[in-house]
Symmetry: C4
Subunit: 278 residues, 4 copies
């Protein structure tokens, strides 16, 4: 989908997914801090969030695959026509969506059944990111310089996310790692938008694809997106923490599945203890 | 062995080895969950499986080396003839088999004797995969584009397996890591078949080795193989678990060396506990 | 800032920061050894050092950004002029400073509030180093051979520091890792000076930028800087330890926030115990 | 030193050092298994071995530097002559020796004083290997194909050893890691000999440096060296274990600093326990 919309749609999804992950992980972190040490297990609200997240991933991936296949100029589920491959670009995008769909199935399964080893959902999500980066990697060769460069920078966000999510398989419940993974999704999301703006400007003239200064600017711009991602993760985390604190001081803990006994004052105490122990 | 059979034979071996590893690791995982905490040690059935696996590796590697050396157009154990190297391709394949043979010897030795440090078998298996990838890496340069590309993708499976198996040296009994390693073997196996189909088609015309669309398709096809490998590991694991559950509910635990006291109901309970602890 | 001063100023900052980190980590290490096991927490003097360090980082980064923007031939906060980018080099340097500024803010925040997860300051510092290396990486292509090479060697120090600092997120209070990170800063600092001397010699003739022998010498010279960095970290550590030992044997522990009961003799004892436990 | 001897001398050193490390680590491993859990600390014989090893490293590095500097056609401690660099190859070799000398000093210091953090000796040894590989890496470009290739393969052994030794900083007393590091030294040693034989054959004609078959053979030959290194580490380990077992059954434990109470029968028992725990 070589137009602005074709970059804005996945960009929005990745961006919102990053924000969602930030909210989820901060809620979970806060909940863990309120739990007595011996009561491990999954928070009730987390279970619902996982079902929602997994379900949405399955739904979005299915829609994505169907759209890629059955848009008017799509392959309509034909792979070969005569001796030629049909619309391989659409097939590649379908493949990427497929893996995010599998990640959704895994998340639902691992939430529903204790048989699925803990961490498999992270492994498959990491695999989905790897597949995305892998296909993009061979995708971008033989393009004009700026086009190739701006997609290569995307790979930094994609493979960074894949590596960070893979680490979560082995280091469970590390809030820094969880927020890092979320940040990579946000970065990927905003960068998709940037790619759209550069390659298919909504207004104004086209960018000169071989000019060195454009390359230099785009490289620097990626770092600005990184700074924005850090800022967004931080402010989202703070907003969630602030709302939880207000809610819990009003005794409305039940809504998000927390225990009644926790209050603002001892929640603060737990926060202190947690930080020191880690 | 530049023909279809020369790719199908190693492909079948790697595929079956991956399935075997999946079954073995799930059996072991299930058995660990039934053991009381203080009784660590090796499951009796695992010992037999290790002997069988190691023995087969030694046998298959020996046969492989002999075949590569003594096929009619092989080197017949001659390395130099006059001032020329003799059939280096066959020598390279023999070298690969040699390392899988050493891995077999190590597995038998580490099962038989407590003197061999735990984990050495994983290290040597990782080394065998590394050597395979290492030789392939220098093997594929200077081939036509598609030929080189399809072998490069094989390296992803080979080096992925080497890295994952190496990690098992340090992270023992991590079922995710064990299944990941098994999945890489399955992926390698099916990809060997794919290489055979592409380079030596059984029917139909030859593939155009320099056409860009073929490269794009093959890259995407590798991701499909990955999805199939994930599916196969999952379904094999489920099948093994399902059979074990039926067996144990019939009180026939002894056959696979489990303790009599375990029943379907508390096996389920152990499964739950295990998952939460990890 | 393509002159000697433009390399000497950042060089001095990185060098002094490396020495500062060495002193801080050794003080902290010494303090940890004197603490009874159950009293974990942050040393009072460390808190003050963190505020100072973070404040200085914020201040220096702000000054750096302002200087880069408002020097006479700077961009004066203009990014685009007509259809051209304005002074992208200055903008890139400003971006680098920005991230070190963010690292300073994080350090202050994580010292002031227990809400910030432990280790986030290390993550952001690692990110600042990554951004520095990332921008340099695309910066140095298309330069003369020696110029590109000498900047590539800088990347070894920068990315080495980024990796080592990233590891500190997961391995807390490992004195070897902490000193390794400090050493990379010292190495980066002295190497900036070396770049200045080679590309903008204060006296004598210009270096021949394409001569192979110069490349060879510069490569070797980098190793000498590494040896010097090792020596400096070692001697600084020893000096700090020696001064602390003299102070504590005079009973003036309070000055650096230590407990009165520690004396030279049992401090030595603690040192022994610590080393064996690690 | 571009002749056979110039490769045989470092080759012999690395080979013998690898064997020495194997013996040392197996002795230490055996000793650890005999120690009661609560008595941690350093084995008396290990202390002596460390002093010997460190002393020899310092001595050999000093001799190496002096020889490189003061051979008749050496630089005689002159770095610059007029406007030309003097004998940079000799200076590079001196730099390599310098780092192994520093590693020796660190080993002695960390054995003698408890102030030196445990593991620093491994870090510096890893750094010495890194410097060796780093200098070789820039050394080998612009050589004939076979010459460059055979040195590139050396880098696999050098950087493999650097990585494995670096891991030992964080994973102490892991016998597999320790033997892996020793194996990389043995591999490096035998491969230095191989380089000597290929580039400066003692008899027979010169090797054709651009012939593809020679590249293929050399790649495969490296794997054979790897197999030999595995075999040597294994047989050395077994020989040491066998001799220790005979010694301890004769009650002559004191000679190697073991405790009198250990006998062949319970040493075996400890071996079993250790393996299971790991």
């Amino acid at each position: 989908m070589a137009n602005f919309g074709g970059h804005a749609i996945p960009g929005s999804f990745f961006f919102l997914y990053g924000v969602w992950l930030t909210v989820k992980h901060i809620l979970h972190h806060y909940w863990r801090m309120h739990q007595p040490k011996h009561r491990q297990g999954m928070a009730p609200f987390l279970k619902k969030m996982h079902y929602f997240e997994g379900g949405l991933q399955i739904f979005a991936a299915s829609v994505g695959i169907l759209v890629e296949q059955f848009v008017p100029d799509g392959p309509h589920a034909h792979l070969i026509s005569g001796r030629e491959w049909v619309k391989l670009m659409n097939w590649q995008h379908s493949t990427m969506y497929l893996f995010f769909g599998i990640a959704g199935v895994t998340l639902v399964a691992s939430t529903a059944s204790k048989l699925v080893p803990v961490g498999v959902d992270r492994l498959i999500l990491s695999m989905a990111l790897f597949v995305e980066g892998f296909l993009f990697y061979y995708h971008v060769s033989m393009r004009p310089h700026l086009d190739a460069h701006i997609h290569t920078l995307l790979l930094v966000a994609v493979f960074g996310g894949a590596a960070s999510t893979m680490l979560e398989v082995f280091k469970r419940h590390n809030i820094i790692l969880e927020l890092l993974g979320a940040g990579f999704f946000i970065l990927q999301g905003t960068w998709f938008y940037q790619i759209g703006f550069v390659l298919y400007p909504l207004s104004g003239p086209q960018w000169e694809l071989e000019q060195h200064d454009n390359i230099m600017f785009v490289t620097m711009c990626f770092c600005w997106h990184l700074a924005v991602a850090v800022l967004l993760v931080t402010s989202t985390s703070f907003a969630v923490w602030f709302m939880l604190r207000r809610l819990s001081s009003n005794g409305r803990d039940i809504e998000i599945g927390m225990r009644n006994t926790s209050s603002a004052s001892n929640s603060q105490k737990f926060l202190l203890e947690e930080s020191e122990e880690e």
